[in-house]
């Protein structure tokens, strides 16, 4: 109906149009009007019968519609050659102001009835890998680890000896006596969890982004740990501790000690960690909790047995830290608190586009690491789906279908 120019309408067309517009009451008095006559209706016509009897608003409504028809008519009439100079056409700048529609209104192939709303296409892929950013996060994590190790070495010099300051009273230690083998259990659990996590990570589709997140969070947690370790030094939690002797000012030996610790991953099992003083807060708890949180977060929901298994490993590991009297209870509690809060904070910000913008109601953006977070997550546009793939493509073997498990990602 609208395709045909209004000026060419017949009486029937006019009637049809009126009915379409919901103005059936005018069909009767205007039945002898064709398109051209319709376009020439004016206010005055509505003040005379028969139209004055029919209309309820002085014909404003209909005149309005006719006006828009007129505009179209103008557009159609001046379709040849005239560009934006035309007054009527120039304000055709609706929200979808593409350059095509500025020229003479309707372009060939455009149905006048339809509205074209160009949705801005996302620039680039939804989950760009951006290994560069992951590299920076990796460097950040490494820096924090090295810094922590150096800090442990420094703090070790300041730990008051067992004789001077005995272990502080701790509620857990009052209930549970020390168990020798407990700390090995904790460290084994930790290693299992880390290995599982690395395996899981290598099978993920969006490795880069997940790695970035893990490295950033781990780095920040260790950075916080540096600070808390340094400002106040707690005494050793148990008499069983064999702290290596202090090296007053002997930088070379201290460096060697630091290297040894880094190489051993900070674990007592590897024999690299015989320095004291790094109690508040517990790094073991951080690793156990964080790996568990990540594993749970980036694995399919239906693998409940996997989640429960890892959760058990984590809980047992943390319990064993305390059982071994290797950390105070406060160390473990604070480590758990900070790890979970930071993890949830980061992921809430990453998954909600509203919260990626610093605004007055977005209190989450007031953390000091917000700009770093923006840098890392700026181009990640959506919640990362839990999809997996084999890290290298097996072109020759077609039996193993790729686990692009879209079903898994809920």
């Amino acid at each position: 109906m609208g395709i045909k120019k209004a000026a060419l309408w017949s009486e029937a067309d006019v009637g049809l149009w009126l009915a379409e517009e919901g103005m059936q009451e005018y069909t009767e008095p205007l039945r002898h009007m064709d398109g051209r006559a319709l376009l020439q209706l004016s206010q005055a016509d509505f003040q005379r019968p028969p139209l004055s009897r029919i209309t309820s608003d002085g014909g404003r409504h209909l005149l309005e519609k006719i006006k828009t028809l007129n505009i179209e008519h103008h557009i159609e009439a001046h379709k040849n050659g005239l560009t934006n100079g035309h007054v009527v056409i120039s304000h055709n700048g609706d929200a979808s102001a593409s350059s095509k529609t500025k020229r003479n209104g309707m372009v060939n192939g455009y149905n006048k009835e339809l509205v074209r709303i160009p949705i801005p296409e996302p620039i680039g892929p939804q989950f760009p890998t951006e290994w560069g950013k992951t590299g920076i996060a990796f460097l950040y994590a490494i820096c924090c680890f090295v810094f922590t190790t150096i800090m442990i070495s420094i703090v070790h010099e300041r730990v008051p000896p067992k004789e001077v300051t005995p272990p502080l009273p701790d509620k857990f230690f009052d209930f549970f006596d020390r168990v020798e083998w407990a700390f090995s259990v904790c460290e084994i659990n930790g290693m299992i969890l880390v290995i599982l996590w690395i395996l899981q990570w290598s099978l993920m589709k969006h490795r880069s982004i997940v790695a970035r997140r893990f490295l950033f969070i781990v780095g920040t947690l260790y950075l916080y740990r540096c600070i808390t370790m340094y400002i106040t030094t707690l005494p050793v939690p148990g008499k069983h501790f064999q702290c290596s002797p202090k090296l007053y000012g002997d930088w070379e030996s201290q460096m060697r000690r630091v290297m040894k610790m880094i190489a051993g991953g900070g674990l007592t099992i590897t024999g690299s960690h015989n320095m004291c003083g790094d109690y508040l807060y517990s790094g073991h708890t951080v690793m156990l909790t964080l790996t568990y949180l990540f594993m749970k977060e980036y694995s399919p929901r239906r693998f409940w047995w996997y989640h429960w298994g890892c959760g058990a490993l984590c809980a047992v590991g943390v319990f064993c830290i305390l059982l071994a009297h290797d950390h105070y209870t406060i160390d473990v509690v604070i480590a758990y608190f900070i790890t979970t809060r930071l993890f949830w904070w980061y992921h809430t910000m990453a998954n909600q586009p509203d919260l990626k913008v610093a605004s007055q109601s977005n209190f989450l953006s007031r953390v000091w690491w917000y700009w770093f977070f923006q840098y890392l997550e700026r181009n990640v546009r959506d919640v990362i789906p839990r999809s997996y793939q084999i890290p290298f493509s097996w072109q020759s073997l077609h039996w193993g279908h790729m686990k692009y498990s879209r079903i898994d990602s809920d």
Partner: protein, 365 residues
Amino acid sequence: MAASKFPKSGDSNSHISSANHIEVTVADRPHPQDTPDNGRQCNDRPSRFSRSFAKILRKNQDYLQITISEPKLEQLPAEWWKTGVVFLWALLNLFLTTVMITVVHERVPDKSVSPPLPDKFFDFVSRKDWAFRVTEVNGMLLVTAWFLQWLFLKHKSIIGRRFFFLLGTLYLYRMVTMYITTLPVPSDHMNCAPKLEDDHLGRIHRIMQLFFGGGLSITGSHMMCGDFLYSGHTVMLTVTFLFIREYSPSSWYWTVYHLICWVLSAVGVVCILVAHEHYSIDVVVAYFVTTRLFWWYHTLANNQSLLDSPHNYLNKVWWRYFFRFMERNVRAVVPCVFSWPISLPRASFKIPCRRYSKVQIVREE
């Protein structure tokens, strides 16, 4: 061709302004009064109008202003009983903290057995006598300022609820951290009251004294040791400042006020350390926990849509049910509006606090 101005008609506020754009306003209101003339048309007006409106849209429209009328439900109900419940929560936690301090006091190792732990701040700054008094005076000033400000806020109930909840939770956390591991006294100057082994009456007396003295040393109520991790003074200073800043306007004069409060708060916190009354770790942990909890809570409160989102991890905190109870009926961001505490006739004035004055005016109507 210039269009003439059409005045509003019936229930459809459509008017076509002159010049080069069409502005269409749709008011989603219930059906208007039926007049004899319009009676027939009122029923099918909306549908007819919406169709023609859609057509006008297609033709040449610049922008569209849609004013949705305010829903009938009240956006920010007072619900004082909820505030009462939360106040009881805070009171309970404060009381339990006092009890816990007395319990922990018995377990603090003696200065001779466990000397003060090495602390970086104490290495640099030696102790000053008058510093702790400064802290407590600052704290009292801030609390008074916040109380006065709160008194003049319009949505006292909701804001008071939030304050009490945060305070209660922070003191609950403090109870836990104080209890599980007991730190020795930070400095040799501290004279801890003697331990009362089995003297329950004496303990109760101490609890009462501490509770009613507000836990301040100035009032002479706090001579017990052991409540070091984490620092309650820091919590009060930080939380009052955060609330003062959050619920006050951001004009120039108020910025000066914020600055003063910030200075009071910062100086108070630093003086705690200068007075060697707490370890640095106590202050740092207290600051961290307070700010995180405050921001977490307010993000949840101001973005209620987050509660239903599946990817919202903020919901995983243990106090989410408590949060729902408190904020279920708060449907909008609490605006910063002041009014007289006792409503005199025609006495409530409204100061638009934020600079979004246009929105404020619309909301106020």
